[in-house]
């Protein structure tokens, strides 16, 4: 039979799977000799058994009894003992932190008798009765499922009757009366008496904590945070200590370093005569932790000593919860603490400088999301600002513009070249055009999974949502907050990284980290942050096994990508070269009615293409450049069907001949589902000469670079291949053109893997491909069967709410579905062709979590937008040290 209960002296910090995070760290502190109230932990395994079988495992009750008896021995008193009761807390604690999601019951062990003993022992009758009513209240709500409002209302009524609003005005007698009322509520609502037997209280509380693993909110939270659903929670049973026994008692939180800057020092808050929740609830003002030095110097010094111990032990910033009970310090919790992005980089380098960790561990301590945050433009910290509200930091960035209150107004203003912030109570799919037109989006309702938040993140657009202080009046085109009124046209500045909303224009400046990547700021000239970033990037590059390329379609983008550290272009989209003044030539191609006309149109396009390719090959001299042949359906280059139909209909007999011909072509090429239509390799096989023109332009551009002494490395990529036969036809044509251009020009020929069938038949397709590039955007669309344009606005926010996704599969690669296809294609492609070059050019190439996946499956490179290149480089290094590196602890 497995062991279901661990005394705090038996566990350690590496047993999080079994004891949960809280339990493992309580054990760790106990073993370090720190003052932790004695207690024990019931394992997650017991919970899993309970959830699966509907009953606690055999033997658990006996094991608990054994540990409780030992605890009672240690404490010298028995649970609920009438004259001097041992009280315990029963707290949940899972492997992953799920703050506030699951249940806790304090003061277990109180009943009508022991409350008197507690009063006598503490010398504080009011405290004892308050503790008792809290027990009934928490127990009633959590364990017995009574509506918590009923208890709150009784409390409010009592205060109202006494003419006060402050709990502190209630007396022992008041609380005693409340105990009676609360018991009545329990009786009335549950048809049973509040259980006064201490052990029964404890057992029921344990089960309630188990059950709380599957509460709706916990399930939703896990779905959103992608915490596995079958882990279960541990239960910590800990002897109670009280910070509310008088002014010699108190409770506090502390950090071993400044979580904002990373500086070592004394950071935290303390509150005298209070319990844990009171600090968080903000009922009274806390004092800075340093003041504890005046209040109780020995305790303060002991705490500093413990903080040093913990940091040297955990080798990282720790956050701590503690309680002082009548002058004695008790540690209630510790864990590795959260920190800002900048602090994460600084702390990692500081710890490396102190020799506490090595550089492998240092890059493990930071991540790409943090780096991306450091790269957003920011509001000038020194500039004067008038903050008028704070909402949720839904999508990062700093946006400034005139407030507009409708999508139409946003579109109109943007058409006039004005920058705007779209302000709505909440957004709906109808606001999409306005969101596209705006610099940023501000809403007064909705959380991080609201429509506004989801869509804005998808667009990479700054967004602050749920700024509840704002009273948004869309009809009147204004918002109010306190005395401030913002009319349409007034300027707002919103900080998507902090959630702050400022009145007026706040100056925006480029991040020093970006200036460093751009080469405008030498590492040595930068501040500690820039230096830290530099050191960690150098190490990540050295460690990485994945190369990082960029998606870029112009020489300018290619140059920036190179400055940002890209070692090639992974996706150069040629259709972008068909826009602007060249669109006319594409129209000619589409309207061609004879071979001669079609060939003339292609001949006219060729020199432009050659020039484009020459510029990019020059910018990327010596590095590979993957050029994708034309991908979108041709009707994308024509006017919109509905608009043109209306135009021609309104013009009637006066409609121009050109418009009529265009309309005829638009009709002919119209597709119900263009994403699933005549595009990619299909176009290449159906329209004679189209691919050949592009391949010739690539080959001639490369030949020119060779004649200039350059080192061009073009790679020709065939899009939307679903079968080896398609690839073979396109490949034969391309090879023929390459041979006809002759000379020294060489180019790899490969394909996108962006259709499920391409992945499923990758073993065959690899026969005709020298490289694969996973087009994970399209692969996600076809694997899930949804079109990004259509569905992000229409149902993604609902899906996030429902927990169907933890995160949009367009942001982070869906491992189970799309990832499985990638894995199949990698394995079977390499089986056919061991030297097959493998990369990814979807936007996932710049997403931290996805980069780890691509490392895991063994790709050769990822490719992403130039701005994401540093993020991908860092994550490529992190992935390498995490899976390949030596254990650095």
């Amino acid at each position: 039979m497995p062991k279901f209960v661990y005394d705090f002296t038996e566990g350690n910090k590496d047993l999080k799977d079994l004891l949960g995070g809280k339990g493992a760290n309580l054990s760790e502190m106990t073993n370090l000799g720190l003052p932790v109230p004695p207690g024990f932990t019931i394992t997650t395994e017991a919970c899993r058994h309970y959830l699966a079988e509907g009953a606690v495992p055999a033997g658990l009750a006996e094991e608990i009894t054994e540990h409780l008896t030992a605890l009672e021995g240690t404490m010298g008193k028995k649970l609920g003992q009438a004259d001097d009761p041992l009280l315990v807390s029963v707290r949940s604690g899972a492997k992953f932190s799920m703050p506030g999601m699951m249940d806790t019951v304090l003061n277990i062990g109180l009943n009508d008798e022991s409350v008197l003993g507690l009063a006598a022992q503490s010398g504080n009758e009011r405290f004892a009765w308050d503790s008792y009513r809290r027990l009934i209240q928490m127990f009633g709500k959590t364990v017995l499922g009574v509506d918590g409002e009923l208890f709150e209302e009784s409390l409010e009524e009592l205060k109202h009757a006494k003419g006060t609003t402050d709990d502190l005005d209630l007396t022992a007698a008041d609380f005693q009366k409340l105990v009676g009322t609360f018991k009545g509520i329990v009786r009335e609502r549950t048809g049973r008496e509040f259980p006064t037997e201490p052990r029964e209280q404890m057992d029921l509380a344990v089960k309630a904590v188990f059950d709380s693993w599957n509460s709706d909110r916990a399930i939703l939270y896990r779905r959103q945070e992608r915490i596995p659903t079958d882990l279960g929670t541990a239960v910590n049973i800990c002897s109670m200590v009280f910070g509310n026994l008088g002014m010699d008692s108190g409770t506090g939180v502390a950090f071993t370093r400044d979580p904002a800057s990373g500086q070592q020092g004394v950071y935290g808050d303390y509150l005298q005569n209070a319990q844990g929740e009171d600090v968080v609830a903000g009922i009274r003002n806390t004092v800075p932790l340093a003041d504890l030095g005046q209040i109780n110097e020995p305790v303060y010094r002991q705490l500093l000593q413990i903080m040093e111990t913990l940091e040297n032990h955990y080798l990282d910033l720790c956050d701590i919860e503690f309680t002082v009970e009548r002058g004695k310090l008790w540690m209630l919790q510790t864990r590795v603490g959260k920190r800002t992005a900048a602090a994460a980089f600084r702390i990692a380098c500081q710890l490396a400088d102190q020799g506490l960790i090595d550089l492998n561990e240092a890059i493990h301590r930071v991540n790409g999301d943090q780096l991306a945050q450091l790269m957003f433009p920011r509001f000038d910290a020194a500039a004067p600002k008038e903050q008028i509200a704070k909402g949720m930091n839904a999508s990062p960035g700093a946006a400034v513009g005139k407030a507009v209150f409708s999508s139409e107004a946003a579109v109109e203003a943007a058409a006039r070249g004005e920058k705007v912030i779209l302000v709505r109570r909440e957004t709906t799919p109808d606001d999409l055009t306005g969101m596209i037109a705006a610099q940023g989006i501000l809403t007064s309702r909705g959380g991080k999974t609201s429509h506004a938040a989801v869509v804005a993140r998808g667009m990479g657009k700054t967004c602050v949502c749920g700024a509840e202080d704002l009273d948004v009046d869309v009809k009147a085109r204004r918002l109010k907050t306190g005395d401030v009124v913002v009319q349409e046209g007034d300027v707002l500045s919103i900080d998507g990284s902090t959630g702050a909303v400022y009145l007026g224009e706040v100056p925006v400046s480029a991040s020093p980290v970006v200036r460093y990547f751009e080469g405008e700021l030498a590492p040595a000239d930068g501040d500690e942050l820039v230096q830290s970033v530099h050191r960690l990037m150098v190490h990540a590059d050295a460690a990485a096994r994945l190369a990082v390329r960029a998606n870029a379609d112009t020489p300018e983008d290619s140059e920036r990508a190179r400055r940002f550290g890209a070692t090639g272009i992974g996706l150069c989209r040629t259709e972008h070269m068909f826009l602007g003044e060249r669109r006319q030539l594409v129209e000619d191609l589409i309207l061609a009615t004879s071979d001669a006309e079609r060939e003339a149109a292609l001949d006219a396009l060729a020199p432009f293409q050659k020039e484009d390719f020459h510029g990019i090959l020059k910018a990327m001299d010596g590095l590979p450049v993957t050029i994708r042949l034309i991908d979108p359906p041709l009707h994308e280059f024509l006017p919109d069907l509905t608009e043109l139909s209306v135009k021609v209909a309104l013009a009637g007999a006066d409609a121009s001949d050109k418009d009529r011909r265009l309309l005829e072509a638009v009709h002919r090429l119209h597709e119900q589902n263009p994403m699933l239509g005549l595009r990619g390799v299909r176009l290449g096989l159906v329209i004679p000469g189209l691919f050949a023109m592009q391949v010739r332009a690539i080959a001639e551009a490369a030949a020119q670079r060779l004649s200039e002494g350059g080192d061009p490395r073009p790679e020709i990529m065939i899009p939307l291949v679903g079968s080896i036969q398609e690839l073979e036809h396109a490949r034969e044509e391309a090879e023929q053109v390459l041979r006809s251009v002759g000379g020294e020009v060489k180019a790899l020929i490969g394909t996108m893997i962006e259709l499920p069938r391409a992945a499923l038949t990758a073993g065959q397709i690899a026969e005709g491909a020298e490289f694969f590039s996973f087009g994970t955007n399209d692969l996600t669309q076809t694997t899930w069967g949804f079109s990004r344009d259509d569905v992000e606005a229409s149902f993604f926010s609902r899906y996030l709410e429902l927990g169907v996704f933890g995160v949009s599969p367009f942001e982070t690669l869906d491992r189970d579905g799309v990832g499985r296809l990638v894995r199949i294609a990698v394995e079977e492609g390499r089986r056919t062709r061991p030297d097959l070059k493998l990369g990814v050019c979807g936007e996932h190439g710049g997403d931290p979590e996805s980069v780890h996946f691509f490392h895991e499956v063994g790709l050769d490179y990822v490719s992403c937008s130039p701005f994401r290149v540093p993020v991908a480089r860092l994550e490529a290094g992190r992935a390498a040290v995490e899976t390949d590196g030596s254990d650095s602890r």
Copy 2:
């Protein structure tokens, strides 16, 4: 070292892999003691080696020498021997018949000397020189790659100079002269002399046959017929016999039974003084085989004896090629012969009656495509008909209508309620609307993979294509053929099963086989065909492991499906119930601006739904009915965006308020790619109450059936699920509704597997599904990334031409891609839930080859349109006896 050469005495009919079909059957006949000219076969293995390495395997030359020496011994003369030459043919022969695809060279062994010996031995100088010039011509073209036209032109010139058009007017001297001319052509075109060394001739011819495996047309043919590309061909070297040595010689073809009716008897053609090709080429009129009885009675009797021997040996209809050389019969080829659909059924039953085969083997001998052909309506055989042309039988059926020559005319006529035949030279994607509007399609150009043929088959529309005798003048709106002129509006009748084109209306009648399935014709009252079909269907049903259900949305269709033998409804589409008069209610639902309006709209729809379900459950009493909740995007129920935009724009200020509101809704719901949009389970999760209304209607309909004493078996199917989370939400809602209706109502809850992700995560999804139904239409669309509506017309014909597909993946399931996903889902779904019920409801459920696949992977049932149910039943039985049945030979 493997053995590369088999004497005809060494092989047998089961060695087709190694010896090809022709070689294996020549050996078989030799072993049966039939008069086969001696010879030997070079194996496909030698060919594969040659194709892989570019050279014949070591030892092959020696082995050939050995066998040639033995052959020379048998024949008593040497290859090319001057005074009495042994001549041989060198013929290809692969495992699968590839008629006309690969090469043959006859008369190997002739040169300037042996031609004189042949003349002397045959006593026919003209024959000898004719044979020699044929050798040079065939060898020049096939082995040396000289343009065959050059030889033809010389021959024509000679005839022209002699003032004749008939080869028979040419003399020995003429042919001798032609030999000189042909040698000159070879010299001029290849820069070498025609090789006169007999063994060199033979070796070069063998290599040419090997090479012909990879000729363009052979590759294309294999792609289309889905013959594996790596089999290679065998080469048969056979001593020549001549049917053209005088009137006591001749050549013929024979069948052991009538391939049209299946009757045993004497069927075939004979041509005196002729070689094999002459029979096929139709240069002279053949005589019925029975006439051979008069010409040479002993030979005739010998032939009949041989035919009986062969049929009893092969246990099937055989077709035979033979030659009579100066009164001696030689067998040149035999194989199991092709036959009509009706003959196939009759022959299978006859053979079973004769005790030659058992019923398992009998159902193996027929197939669903044949049964489908027997079910098409047909032109009344007895009715007078004026056939004016014959084209290719591109898509079966009998269609009658007025000829129209443009897509517009077809659409206009159809709008007036007229039936039309669309006549075009060839069709293009622009003709799509016309093809939809027409009863049938007739073209004068293009083969079975032309646009017209492919699209028509996809639509199930009758089509005759490539009727080359028709001179179609689209501008003048008429066609001519001979003296007949057909103007637009004149009636045509086309037979897509035979390719016949008739002038005027030919009466159409239902097939007796359909009348049998409908129950209108008892088996005993039917003809031999109906009785044969009945016997084989009964056996197939008994053998089948796959059940067959139907896709049906109305009580009427359900009843027909039941009559046709369906044992359930596999797909009942509920959205079809939202059309007609109820469309208004759906509009109300879409335009609802409040919860109350939405609920009112749903409440109004509910009684209709309940009525629909009640009718279907009644029709299928006691059998399962799988009802799919609403699947298409809601905008499908609204007017078209472009049409409505034009209408509102033209109306200007006069546009109705309703139209404006509708246009607003159409805009709001518009999707770029509706197939990938807000539909299926996504609608269910986004629109409160929609799925619940449907589930309630199902439950209430079932409750009513129960109260009527019925046995309703509804199964609720959630469409477009991509993740277990979606299914769980929909399932919870459905279960809640079912509980609320209460009573005895039970319903399985399951899901469509129609997205790649659903298949890839089927192991998870099975946790929430009691059944899976593979929606292979959508699964094909998403796996390949093409939309059927958009691409069949735009590039499928090109893809079939290029050999990307052998057959449209919408007709026959793509095993490598889509099939792999099905397999994954079956295995992983069953692993999670061993009693998971598995079916398919895409159109592939009625496709013979696909049914075998579904049997193989272990589905429980297929579901298809009612009319395809018998086809699926037959194929389900065939699949079972082929994979599971005892060997019945």
